[in-house]
């Protein structure tokens, strides 16, 4: 399974997802660990979720899902509910720093965060239609709200990956940073956000409730 590392650096909490062979797949265990990491970093002002290596996160391991029946698929979908709720209830501003491939349910996890930034060579894809499923972690709702239902339908229907620039044009991400200086630019971006965190905290939870 993918490993989760969490660390605190001043007022910023970092959560890293890492797998030594696969592109950071998300299993039920990964979701539980991510939830735990978000809960543990409750005292910071901003939490950055990112991946290690060439991927941010990818969806579930296809081999694990192949023989799911209705109940198993239901449980797999439901287990993300706690992570989404935890992210939503976070005191901190949550930022998905998409450092590479972001496929399937990983997009739903990124959309659960308050802001999304991407490395210039990041790739986004809702490829469920290629494997005969639809997304199960809130994406049909969150992506529609984020970029509009027609454009969201197109991404799901075509299952074609898009690059970071296209994601920015669609409104899927808030910023795209140069690949070579990604983490440097990300830190500066987060520092700018933190300079307004005191003023923003009161309204953050209300913004999260806007549907």
């Amino acid at each position: 399974m993918s490993r989760i590392y969490a660390r605190k650096s001043g007022k910023i909490g970092w959560i890293y997802v890492y797998h030594n062979k696969l592109p950071n797949p998300v299993s039920i265990k990964t979701l539980e660990s991510l939830t735990y990491a978000f809960e543990k970093l409750s005292e910071v002002d901003a939490i950055i979720l990112t991946g290690v290596g060439k991927s941010f996160l990818s969806g579930a391991n296809i081999a694990d899902m192949l023989n799911f029946n209705y109940s198993e698929a239901w449980r797999f979908s439901a287990c993300n509910e706690r992570l989404s709720d935890t992210i939503k209830q976070c005191r901190a501003l949550t930022i998905a720093a998409v450092n590479g491939y972001c496929f399937g349910g990983a997009n739903d996890i990124a959309l659960a965060c308050d802001l999304r930034v991407a490395k210039a060579d990041a790739v986004f894809g809702h490829t469920g239609a290629k494997i005969g499923i639809l997304t199960g972690w809130g994406g049909t709702y969150l992506l529609g709200k984020s970029i509009g239902t027609k454009k969201a339908y197109e991404l799901f229907f075509s299952a074609k990956p898009i690059n970071a620039q296209k994601a920015l044009e669609l409104g899927l991400v808030n910023k795209v940073f140069d690949s070579e200086h990604f983490y440097g630019e990300l830190k500066q971006f987060v520092q700018r956000c933190l300079s307004r965190v005191k003023e923003g905290r009161g309204i953050l939870n209300k913004i999260r409730l806007i549907s």
């Binding site: 979908s77 469920g128 639809l134």
Partner: protein
């Protein structure tokens, strides 16, 4: 994929239907189209060109994917304002916010193709031949895409918590389809899937 005119929408078997709208449909045809799309599990792709008004806007709101020609201009004529009932309002609100709709009704605004794209009313601006070529290449979509259409339509009117619940049911249901098994096997075997739509 099949290409038709809007009048021919009934009795189509294909999972993906491309409709080329050159002439403005009547309001009654647009209403019939809305009802048929609402009940259909097909993916409806609409191609719009030229000057169009309320009936075309309604069809755009009902369709799943909308592509427009660069010469497209959209408006609501004065005599059409009185025809906008609750059902039409609901359809129009799917492609524009209330401020744009008010603008169209009260200021006689015309929306250009660029504006329509920027406002999220269309997926892209393209020539018909380009869209035709793009959709001709599309293979039969899986059962999950049929579910997706309904789920996105239902979820647009729900709160997040309820929308997640509906999505979860559809997600679990997609695992009861032969297309899910075929799709995942094809992925693992590094080959192209052959979906049956069930």
């Amino acid at each position: 994929m099949r290409c038709i005119r809007i009048e021919e929408f009934d009795n189509i078997d294909e999972a993906v239907v491309l409709i080329k709208m050159e002439d403005e449909p009547t309001i009654s045809l647009a209403e019939k189209f809305i009802d048929m799309v609402d009940e259909s599990l097909k993916t409806i792709v609409l191609y719009v060109s030229g000057k169009k008004s309320l009936p075309a806007l309604l069809c755009m709101g009902a369709a799943d994917l909308v592509y427009i020609n660069k010469n497209t201009e959209l408006c609501i004529k004065k005599e059409e304002i009185g025809l906008i009932n609750d059902k039409f309002l609901s359809v129009l609100s799917g492609i524009m916010n209330r401020y744009i709709l008010t603008d169209l009704i009260y200021t006689n605004r015309t929306i250009s193709a660029e504006d329509a794209l920027r406002l999220g009313m269309a997926n892209s601006i393209a020539g018909y031949s380009e869209i035709l070529a793009r959709f001709k290449k599309i293979d039969n979509p899986p059962f999950a895409v049929k579910l997706l259409k309904r789920i996105m339509s239902i979820n647009s009117g729900l709160k997040e918590k309820d929308a997640r619940f509906v999505e979860r049911m559809a997600f679990a249901l997609s695992f009861c389809s032969s297309d899910q098994k075929e799709g995942m096997r094809a992925f693992l075997e590094k080959r192209k899937p052959e979906f049956k739509g069930r």
